[in-house]
């Protein structure tokens, strides 16, 4: 159902010519005579057969991320950027939720990620993968936000309208959907809860490598940490999770 839109927006661009007499929107060149209906001045030239139209650019839906970003950079093509947003908003918001842990932060940072990616689109350089560039922005904003963040009162998250938060944010619900085996449900829930207790660097490589399905090379591009170190963090992070899953105490390493 269409919402009634009553309020005018901010003054962004042209409005009606106030008090202007109705001008003849003729199908004509400039300065033609007026008539009762749209008038086209006669042209004696003979229209030539065109060579046949061919689409010069692929439909947006089939364009690569890098092509879409190129269009966004060169033409400020909002449709191309909107396509990139459609492709990546779930990955970015989920990453932020897994790293930050609270929805207020996701709302603030999520908006800022995509706004900055558009605002600083000129800084994206092919052949870097667009996803790597976008996740780098996301990570940097998340880190800076965590450093600056002061405790603020909890507010209603009505603007974000996040879908499926209730189902995916509770480890026990997630575990319950994954299996009917109660023992495995318990292990799954325990492992997910234990993620929050991991050192930040181990949690990060697990979130990016496992949940976001990025390669070590891509994670290296995002974090600046060498792949060999990332592998070590993956190993030790999962080792801790394994011990916590088994109900054991984790020794400091």
């Amino acid at each position: 159902m269409d919402k009634s839109v009553d309020k005018p927006g901010n003054n962004k661009g042209g409005g009606r010519s106030s008090g202007a007499a109705a001008r003849d929107a003729r199908v004509t060149g400039k300065g033609g005579a007026k008539s009762a209906r749209p008038v086209v001045p006669p042209v004696d030239e003979t229209a030539q057969e065109s060579a046949g139209a061919e689409m010069k650019s692929a439909p947006l839906g089939r364009s690569s991320d890098e092509d879409l970003m190129s269009r966004t950079q060169k033409e400020s093509d909002q449709q191309a950027y909107a396509m990139l947003y459609e492709r990546y908003h779930q990955a970015v918001l989920s990453y932020l939720y897994r790293m930050m842990g609270n929805l207020e932060d996701v709302e603030s940072i999520g908006q800022e990620v995509f706004l900055r990616a558009y605002r600083f689109r000129a800084t994206y350089r092919y052949p870097q993968k667009f996803s790597t560039w976008l996740f780098t922005i996301s990570r940097n904003l998340a880190i800076n936000y965590s450093r600056r963040r002061k405790r603020s009162p909890v507010r209603n998250i009505t603007e974000l309208n996040l879908e499926g938060v209730e189902m995916s944010g509770d480890p026990r619900r997630v575990a319950g959907r994954a299996t009917d085996d109660l023992e495995k449900q318990e292990e799954i829930a325990r492992v997910l809860e234990a993620l929050e207790g991991l050192p930040a660097d181990q949690k990060e490589v697990i979130v990016l490598g496992i949940f976001q399905d990025l390669s070590y090379a891509e994670i290296e591009g995002i974090t600046g940490t060498k792949a060999v170190t990332l592998r070590s963090r993956m190993f030790h992070g999962l080792k801790r999770l394994g011990r916590l899953m088994g109900g054991k105490n984790v020794d400091e390493e």
Binding site: G9, A25, A82, F120, L162, R231, L238, M245
Partner: protein, 334 residues
Amino acid sequence: MDSASYETDRFLKLLTDALRAGPGSPAWHEAVREVRTGGLEGADEMRLLLDARERLQSGKDYRTIRAGEGFTRKLMGNIAAERDSGADGRRLSTARLIAIVSGLAVVAAAIALCVMLSRGGNNPAPPPAETAPAELLAVFTKTELTSTFAGGIPADWRAFGALGVTTRGGELRSESPKREDLKAGASLGGGIVSVNGRRDAFAIEADIRMDRAPDHLAVEVFVADEAEFGAGAAMAPREAAGWVQGRQVKAVAIEGDALPKTLGEARDVPGSRVKLTVKVDRQFVVVEADGKLVFAGRHNLQEDRPRYAGIRFLVRGSDRLDSVGVERVRVLRP
């Protein structure tokens, strides 16, 4: 073990590959096989590690979220505002920005004071021109319908008007008008219109090719509140439209038999292609060319009537008009 081992030691490299890729991957199968059968030192711990990875795989949906409409709408509105303000990605330092804004505020206050004093405070400033709500100015991201013309006019559209339309070369084009249909000093119209009306906010977008952009041919992307068209130019009683002719695009309003009224200013179309978008809700229309605003303001369509979207060709002269075609039409929702 030192960090370097994770790439020099074959098993550790395999294992960390397996842990990242997870159950089902080739690395995983190989790693599991080696742990189970290889007599490795610390095999129990390795199994625990693999078990933890399996549990994580089962919980991979954990904290998966998507943005809702409000989030997307807010973001796209902000991006549209950035685009229209001409932001080019370069940022000023915060201090410099504050200095500039403060200076502008002082200048604005001084000007306002002068104006008030000169007027004696008796003439209120005119109200700001209405444009359109932010939701309508934002990018519409949901494609409801995509129509191409390789196989004729799709079933979602019907032809109208005395000027025939055809599909050729994968495009929608106008036919050459019949001489008997042409009247001196008048133009002839015809096109396609949506079969079904819509009541919610939507956009119609057309990819238009103009190899030569003749002045005697115009292409219009329109929204009307009736699907009945008159003779001759085949206009509906009320329309809000984007209009391309020559190398210019403009917004127009049609009101019965009155002359079509140009809204705002025409904009040049530099290339041989233009993406013309007309977005409407109950009260407002936004016309954009290649994502750039041409006009935003109130339309003349009746609020309680359904909207019919369409493409119209307007021609004068009987020559073939293959230099202009419509390559694709989309209907989008916010």
